[in-house]
Point group: C2
């Protein structure tokens, strides 16, 4: 998303309104304030307007789902597809635990296997070619049940299963709440990371199905916990901590898309090192000397 942000209007700590970026696709005029403010979680200023780069709808869109014998195979197929440069519009994993929950919640009868949900955008010939290449690669990793949808209604139905996942997970244990983890690793390490994470979840005894934007190397285990069970919450925190450490050890990040807030403040120095965090802190202090912009978040000022 970030790379589609061309410019911003921002209200600064001193109450001034500033503009960053231009409507041109590229510029080398000074510091890139736009991408400094994007993802700063309101700690440097409040974004009030965004100029986005628009993309036309493509001629053809196909959605598809395909099942794998295990999460590792699904992740390895993903790595190969991305490394071959097939321009996937979306490639998402939903593990067997989530597929089971979705069937129960949405009264569907999808195979309860580790599944990739896919979307292909392009010209008609381009999409057909991508679908064929994807199909060939996924078969090398034991994929079965490849089904695809071209009509908008059919595509929406297929994606509904993916979007229902969180609610389906909640419905498995009524009264539980979801604690969402969010790591991102280099694509080449995705299969290792997701496989080790699943083994860790199994060993923990927690109910934590996995879902993720695996085309980016980003995935989430949603740990469903009883809000009255402090020991279970402790266990979830420990599992999350191990997930983050595993991602960092693989050259990844403690948060692919959810941000730091307060909850992940403790990982900042581990991920970036003292020098980089101190540089962020110096920037925070320079732009918000009184620490009035969303204080206590992102940077431990």
């Amino acid at each position: 998303m970030r790379e589609n942000v061309l410019g911003l209007s921002v209200v600064t700590a001193s109450g001034e309104i500033i503009s960053t970026g231009t409507r041109a696709r590229k510029s080398s005029a000074g510091y890139d304030l736009t991408h400094l403010f994007v993802g700063s979680e309101g700690t440097l200023g409040i974004i009030t307007e965004i100029s986005l780069r628009l993309h036309g709808l493509t001629e053809a869109i196909s959605a598809a789902m395909v099942n794998f014998p295990d999460v590792q195979s699904a992740a390895e197929a993903t790595i190969q597809v991305i490394q071959m440069g097939i321009p996937m519009a979306r490639i998402e994993i939903v593990d067997s635990a989530y597929m089971k929950a979705i069937n129960a919640y949405s009264k569907t009868s999808y195979p309860e296997l580790d599944t990739l949900f896919l979307e292909f955008h392009g010209t008609r010939a381009g999409v057909a070619e991508q679908v064929q290449m994807f199909d060939e690669i996924s078969q090398d990793f034991g994929a079965t049940g490849f089904q695809w949808a071209e009509q908008e209604e059919d595509r929406n139905q297929l994606w509904r299963a993916r979007h229902d996942a969180y609610y389906a997970g909640l419905a498995v244990h009524p009264g539980y709440r979801g604690y969402v983890t969010d790591v991102c690793v280099p694509i080449s390490r995705l299969a290792d990371c997701i496989t080790q994470t699943q083994a860790d979840i199994t060993a923990s005894g927690l109910y934590a199905p996995v879902i993720g934007h695996v085309g980016d190397g980003n995935f989430h285990a949603t740990i469903f916990i009883d809000p009255d069970d402090d020991a279970m919450f402790e266990k979830a925190l420990e599992l999350d901590k191990r997930m983050v450490q595993r991602a960092l050890d693989m050259g990844g990040t403690c948060t692919g898309e959810h941000g730091i807030g307060m909850g992940k403040l403790k990982h900042m120095r581990n991920e970036h090192g003292d020098g980089a965090v101190d540089a962020m802190k110096a920037i925070k202090t320079a732009l918000d000397p009184q620490n009035i912009m969303n204080p206590g978040k992102v940077i431990d000022c």
Copy 2:
């Protein structure tokens, strides 16, 4: 290029070495220091290592050139191609003045017309389809002489003409030097901007052929001037100033890719406004309090 930079090692003003970014494709862990340092021209720190995102070579590559009756038609064809979402790997304009210079310099016999140089990347079917769509669109704008090259040797020969342009321009008036301008505007304003610029060049009496990365809305007039002729240099500066103002009036930038340095410092407040430049200045002071990193460039500290 910027969006392919995943992370950096940077030596800061205090002599510390910091790391920014990770090897993961995305992260939302704190401020985006990576893109703050990229394009900061050494004023915030010295970049010593860069982690880049790699892209595989595509199955097929085609290069092509095609002639237009005038720069406006070439720019309008470009706008349409980009707005239709045809994924052009390269789309570059070389105006008739430059084509004439290239023929004289490189002993070639290309039509001396406003010309687009193109490159298409993708699968075999995808490239063939893109070439066909491009051909159809360009014909609507009066294009002629579409020729394309698939073999690497032929592609290189075609691109050599493009890359020789600057030296070809220098050879037109031996002893002259090139003063390169560099503006970038929103794609939708490209035809207006380039047409008005060419009329301005004609009126100025200067020799200033136009070349550009028009797929990004970015182009250059290279003003060739006699280094001993102060009046000519003054005229060139005035032409450049009008080009910048025209680009800014159209929502563009004073520099698409060459940067600010000292020469374009005077445009910074005009392009960004006082608030944004003061924010940049605050960041510069925070990260380099003694102003020892490439002082006097980018920011008027």
